[in-house]
């Protein structure tokens, strides 16, 4: 397996449409790296540059120590699974999987080819479908065959271009697990492209969040989720509540932020001077709710530095968790999730008055400068669409 290095990779369409802007990334041998971001962020272009389908405007691409920037696609040692699967419609499954061996310069004997196809179909747990045509397969089966085809020649790296996007929810979950299993079994270096942050979270060793052709953050799923470096990342990865305001003071990594909801305390990595416009980001599970009259808090609020009141608008059971929408007295809607097990005698219901609180260490103040104005607070419906899928 191989290591992939992108060095100053830049792709400009036409004279001024910058799709990928000077990115550096090293994907380690055997690592599963996910490029995630909204459509048009440059993630697919990056992948297509690695595969050789796009001419690189500037920068270089190398696999191990071999530079492949100018190599044609057919001389790069990467296997790719396409969003549409791209199975050859006029060939059987066997012919699809064996295609790479058949067009290769090296002569593979018939037995070698047969054995390899059998082996690959066993790996994707679809033995015996050699003679079927792609049109006779279900979406999930097509996707597995596409994976088998891409891996049949033992490529140094595997590129996955939104391979799960066209599957329905249940199948997608199943294929996520399947893909992870196969990737770990083979230890193949993998670059995965998706717009679905949940997929990115569950499958990757490392996540690269892209926006407008540039990296917003690179890190493990845990880091990216819990320590987002920008409001964009906080928004895009998981659900987030954002309070806009400006810094009024603070010390030792904790700042006071004046917001519509009042003065909130939040942690800050960077030094934020008074007057800086920031967004205070709190994950839904970082907030606790308690009925106004009783004091039985649910969720872990920690030391409750930040408190406000509101009314529950919506309660949704989401399997293991319960999600509440709270309309605060200050006029913002908050998302709060709690573990379903934490039910108490009188459950909180729609219409209940609640007290909302969260600890300063659960809140992060992030500078707003880096982000386009309207992406900050008015993103709620978009986030729902993103996470709800």
């Amino acid at each position: 397996m191989s290591r992939i290095e992108l060095d100053g990779l830049t792709k400009v369409y036409g004279s001024d449409v910058v799709a990928v802007d000077d990115i550096d990334l090293t994907v380690k041998d055997g690592e599963f790296v996910t490029l995630v971001g909204p459509s048009g962020c440059g993630k697919t272009t990056t992948l297509r540059c690695i595969a050789g389908f796009e001419t690189v405007t500037d920068g270089r691409i190398a696999m191990d120590d071999r530079e492949i920037t100018a190599e044609p696609p057919y001389r790069r040692d990467v296997g790719m699974v396409f969003q549409s699967f791209a199975l050859f419609p006029h060939m059987t499954v066997e012919e699809n999987v064996a295609y790479g061996m058949r067009v290769a310069d090296r002569d593979f004997s018939d037995t070698e080819v047969d054995d390899r196809v059998t082996e690959m179909l066993a790996m994707i747990e679809l033995p015996g479908i050699e003679e079927r045509m792609p049109s006779q397969l279900s979406g999930g089966q097509q996707q597995r065959v596409a994976l088998a085809r891409a891996l049949a020649l033992n490529p140094g790296a595997l590129l996955l271009d939104e391979p799960l996007a066209s599957l329905d929810e249940k199948l997608r979950k199943q294929m996520q697990a399947e893909l992870s299993r196969i990737q770990k079994d083979l230890g193949v270096t993998t670059v995965f492209v998706t717009h679905n942050q949940e997929e990115a979270m569950t499958m990757s060793d490392r996540i690269v969040v892209l926006n407008d052709g540039e990296f917003e953050q690179v890190g493990s799923p845990d880091t990216v989720y819990h320590e987002p470096e920008s409001i964009f990342v906080a928004d895009f990865i998981g659900k987030a509540n954002v309070f806009r305001g400006s810094v009024t003071g603070g010390e030792e990594g904790v700042v006071d932020v004046d917001t519509d909801t009042g003065v909130l305390k939040a942690t800050a990595d960077d030094r934020l001077d008074a007057g800086t416009d920031v967004g205070v980001v709190v994950r839904p599970e970082g907030i606790s709710l308690e009925r106004h009259e009783t004091e039985d808090a649910i969720g872990d609020g920690g030391t409750r530095a930040n408190v406000t009141a509101g009314e529950v608008n919506l309660v949704q059971m989401l399997g293991g968790t319960v999600e509440y929408r709270v309309y605060t007295d200050a006029g913002t809607e908050l998302i709060v999730t709690t573990q379903a097990g934490e039910q108490r005698a009188t459950p909180i219901e729609r219409g209940d008055r609640v007290r909302v609180s969260f600890a300063a260490e659960r809140a992060r103040a992030l500078s707003i400068e880096s982000i386009v104005e309207n992406r900050v607070v008015d993103v709620r419906p978009e986030i729902e669409a993103e996470t709800g899928s």
Binding site: Y13, V17, A19, R75, D77, G100, D105, L153, P155
Partner: protein, 316 residues
């Protein structure tokens, strides 16, 4: 991977900016061949002959020769001053319009019934039949109508046998034979164009209309017809253009007084050996066709491909 051992071949990357499509595949030299060959063929055997036709229409025509290279406006003067040719043009346009309306009227219900037919097999058989007759030479199809409509033809025999008439009718050549023949040969083009258009209408839209209380006729008038409007325009236009160029049907089924402009062009060029005048008539006719095509394109937003895709002319 296999490709690594391959011998080095030059791979010129495209200068293209577009993504998603695999462009710049073949190198620049192959581009000049792949694009150059068809363009050369079309230039040499389409554009040049047409330009030459324009030139020919200005050549003098000495008696006893095809033409002489030179310049004269005589043919155009003749075209504009002899009323016969304008009358012929008028007749040709009127006949073509009538044919187009006739084909629409007969063809629409057929196309609709075909498009809403449940049995795929039956539909395939019907369509194959219609397409087959469409491509059959106009000569054979006109000949069939001659056989049916002639004095001792099938129709007269039948009518005489049942006693509907006492003496055989003289139908062909004649205006009715011509009208029937024109409608007959161009009907398949109308049916297929309308069929593709109606077939694209989601049947659920019609069901929704009925569900909202509209009866069959209201649904047809308010939903189906408006949604197939483009198909109606293209079918009309296609038949009209094809009928304008018709040569065989007027020649075989019409009296000499009903011969259309293409027949005159053919006669001038071949029988009278007056190629320059035939060319001038051709140019006049081309102008009419172009004006109609451009008007159709501008007014109705029809693409030329749409019409070529629907059929196109076989022969005159």
């Amino acid at each position: 991977m296999a490709g690594e051992t391959e011998t080095e071949t030059p791979y010129t990357r495209d200068r293209s900016e577009s993504s998603g499509r695999l462009r710049g595949w073949l190198n620049d030299r192959s581009e000049s061949i792949v694009l150059g060959y068809p363009l050369a063929m079309l230039a040499l055997f389409f554009a040049v002959p047409l330009f030459l036709l324009i030139a020919t229409s200005f050549y003098p025509k000495p008696s006893g020769e095809y033409y002489q290279v030179g310049f004269t406006l005589e043919h155009y003067r003749r075209l504009f001053t002899v009323p016969l040719y304008f009358r012929r043009l008028g007749f040709t346009v009127a006949l073509s319009m009538a044919t187009a309306f006739g084909c629409l009227a007969i063809g629409y219900p057929v196309a609709y019934t075909l498009a809403r037919m449940d049995s795929r097999l039956r539909r395939r058989v019907y369509i194959t039949t219609i397409v087959s007759t469409m491509w059959l030479t106009y000569i054979i199809r006109s000949y069939a109508w001659t056989v049916i409509l002639s004095k001792n033809g099938v129709l007269n025999e039948f009518l005489l046998t049942i006693g509907a008439i006492d003496t055989a009718l003289s139908l062909t050549p004649g205006i009715w034979a011509l009208a029937i023949g024109m409608t007959y040969v161009f009907l398949p083009f109308a049916i297929l164009t309308l069929y593709s258009s109606i077939n694209n209408i989601d049947p659920e839209l019609e069901e929704a209309s009925k569900n909202l209380g509209a009866d069959r006729f209201q649904t047809f008038r308010n939903v189906t017809v408006p949604l197939s409007k483009n198909g109606i325009y293209s079918a009309w236009m296609l038949v009209f253009i094809l009928a304008l160029g018709a040569y065989i049907v007027p020649r075989l089924l019409g009296k000499p007084a009903q011969w259309t402009l293409p027949v005159i062009i053919g006669n001038q060029s071949l029988n009278n050996l007056n190629v320059p005048f035939g060319a001038a008539l051709s140019i006049a006719m081309m102008v009419v066709v172009i004006v109609i095509l451009v008007a159709g394109y501008e007014l109705l937003g029809l693409g030329s491909e749409e019409m070529a895709g629907a059929g196109g002319g076989t022969d005159g």
